[in-house]
């Protein structure tokens, strides 16, 4: 998992939960695997345990993580699919719109941009871990 950026506009708990999502999406924490405890997150990232709990609870509420009493926290079955769906829904707003905005600022045409996208797809084909299943 990536570190916490304490200068980011995003609250720390949100960064933690997104970092955890990334880790689940790339398979660092597979479904049904145990994730680190609140204490481990807190010590590792030097954050208050209440903040760590708030971050993890965001994913508990979405049923991506579940708690087993006395045993710890685990990645739920179907978590990857759930996260992928959620990320797809926000993909356009998060990435495409800002990309187009920047492209316009630099005077890159729609044609040129789609060329770049195609080229990038080609270069990265085969090395993509999150291929369609």
């Amino acid at each position: 998992m990536a570190g916490i950026d304490f200068n980011s506009e995003k609250p720390i708990f949100q960064q933690l939960s997104e970092g955890l999502e990334d880790a689940i999406l790339v398979g660092a924490f597979p479904e049904e695997a145990q994730i680190p405890s609140i204490t481990e997150f807190s010590v590792q990232y030097k954050i208050n345990p209440a903040t760590a709990l708030k971050g993890v609870n965001l994913l508990v509420e979405e049923n991506v993580i579940y708690k087993k009493r006395g045993l710890g926290m685990f990645v739920a079955e179907g978590a990857v699919e759930k996260l992928r769906k959620k990320r797809r829904e926000s993909f356009c707003g998060r990435f495409v719109c800002s990309m187009v905005q920047e492209a316009k600022r630099l005077g890159i045409s729609e044609e040129e941009l789609s060329q770049m996208v195609k080229k990038s797809y080609k270069e990265q084909s085969g090395s993509e871990p999150g291929k369609e299943g």
């Binding site: 980011s8 720390i12 204490t39 030097k46 954050i47 208050n48 345990p49």
Partner: protein, 281 residues
């Protein structure tokens, strides 16, 4: 339960150090006590542990008055500016004596912590360097196992590695046995993420007591071209600005609305240190 400070005032000769301060600290939370030099932080911590008598007001620890009920006092440990051990005492003996005053003191744990910091056990307390004098206090504070631990400038003279080690150990200890921690410090940036709540003192008064996350969400920073920033902040409540060349950062109070942000301006979070500086200058 918790610590209640009610209308506490204290004057030293002509200086009114505390001007009627009231607040309540809950159990098992990590608090930051922030204030500029002379704001009254140390005086406040000393009053809370009966090392200084307040002129007015009172302190209650779990609803008991520590000035009259000794058992209330034994619930609190202050790692303060003053060393309370005889100066000729060696570190090892000091740990032994701590057990007498604080029955919950874990000598084995203290020994292990001391070793991880490289604290020399046989050295006399008065011969410790500034950094190791701080470390000695920190090790004691983490080993006393009282429900309330107050740390006055805990990382004074510590190098970056030792500060990092201390923050980790504190969080580990807190996770295993939650207790109330109050940390007064000038190194706000380093410690901000550890804190759940902050109390800000200014000139002997309590400016605010608020969860860090809430305090930081009261505003935001916009940076970019000075003209653009100046235009943007028109009609908004600005805490302050920093300028460098043609670039400007403005600290704005209010909710962020990324949609209304003109192109070319960047949005970032308020940081506790900047907010503190703007609030207390």
């Amino acid at each position: 339960m918790g610590i209640s400070v009610e209308q506490v005032a204290k004057r030293f000769h002509t200086v009114q150090a505390l001007k009627g301060i009231s607040f309540h600290l809950e159990k098992q939370k990590i608090y930051g006590l922030l204030g500029r030099n002379g704001a009254g932080k140390s005086t406040l911590l000393n009053v809370m542990t009966t090392r200084i008598f307040p002129e007015l007001g009172k302190v209650l620890i779990d609803e008991k008055d520590p000035f009259t009920q000794e058992e209330a006092l034994s619930q609190v440990f202050l790692a303060g500016e003053q060393n309370c051990y005889p100066e000729g005492m060696r570190v090892r003996e000091a740990f032994r004596w701590s057990k007498v005053f604080f029955p919950g003191f874990d000598a084995d744990y203290a020994k292990r912590l001391g070793e991880s910091f490289g604290l020399p056990e046989k050295t006399k307390i008065r011969s410790l360097s500034t950094g190791y004098a701080s470390i000695f206090k920190l090790v004691t504070a983490l080993s006393v196992n009282t429900p309330y631990v107050l740390l006055d400038e805990p990382v004074l003279g510590l190098d970056a590695n030792h500060r990092e080690l201390f923050y980790r150990l504190l969080l580990e200890k807190y996770a295993q046995h939650p207790f109330t921690v109050v940390i007064s410090t000038h190194l706000i940036e380093e410690i901000a993420s550890l804190l759940e709540e902050v109390l800000i003192l200014k000139e002997g008064k309590l400016l605010c007591q608020e969860p860090v996350e809430e305090l930081l969400s009261r505003g935001y920073t916009v940076s970019g071209n000075t003209c653009l920033v100046e235009q943007y902040v028109q009609g908004r409540q600005v805490l302050g600005t920093d300028q460098i060349g043609g670039l400007c950062s403005a600290y704005v109070l209010g909710a962020v609305d990324p949609e209304s942000l003109p192109e070319g301006l960047e949005l970032s979070r308020l940081d506790l240190q900047k907010l503190f500086i703007q609030m207390t200058s």
